[in-house]
Point group: C2
Chain length 64, copies 2
DNA sequence: AGTGAATATGAATTCAAC
DNA sequence: GTTGAATTCATATTCACT
């Protein structure tokens, strides 16, 4: 279900430094959610997430 | 000069809906600044700009 | 330090299917 | 309306040069 997945995505990117959609995909898989990068891209757009800079100067997904 | 360019970038993305670095590159060129996409990518990172969603639901660069 | 050219990587979209 | 596979497109990085 989409809503569940998006909630999980929000939690994952809050807890950890996720720098790519591929990383996010792997994390979701651990939680039993098998989706493709395309779906994650759509989720990110729908949730208005952004790729920002972490403290370390690396890119990471975040909530604006 | 880098600072000048970055100032102009900030102005451009504030005034208009810029959705890609290529668009930004063209705009800079109009102002006489000839730089490559690589440089713009570095500027964006350095300035911590983000790709967000505009009102229309399209992606656009913005200041966080 | 700053940049360009080229490349590798990442991400958005298309198209079809359900 | 939602998704995956494949593709196109956009962007981050590498390497060389200055």
């Amino acid at each position: 279900m989409k809503l569940e997945r998006q909630k999980l995505i929000k939690k994952i990117i809050t807890d950890d430094e996720i720098s790519t959609q591929e990383m996010l995909q792997k994390r979701l898989k651990i939680h039993g959610l098998n989706v493709t990068q395309a779906t994650i891209s759509r989720d990110i757009k729908e949730m208005s997430l952004v790729k920002t800079l972490g403290i370390n100067g690396q890119y990471k997904y975040g909530i604006p």
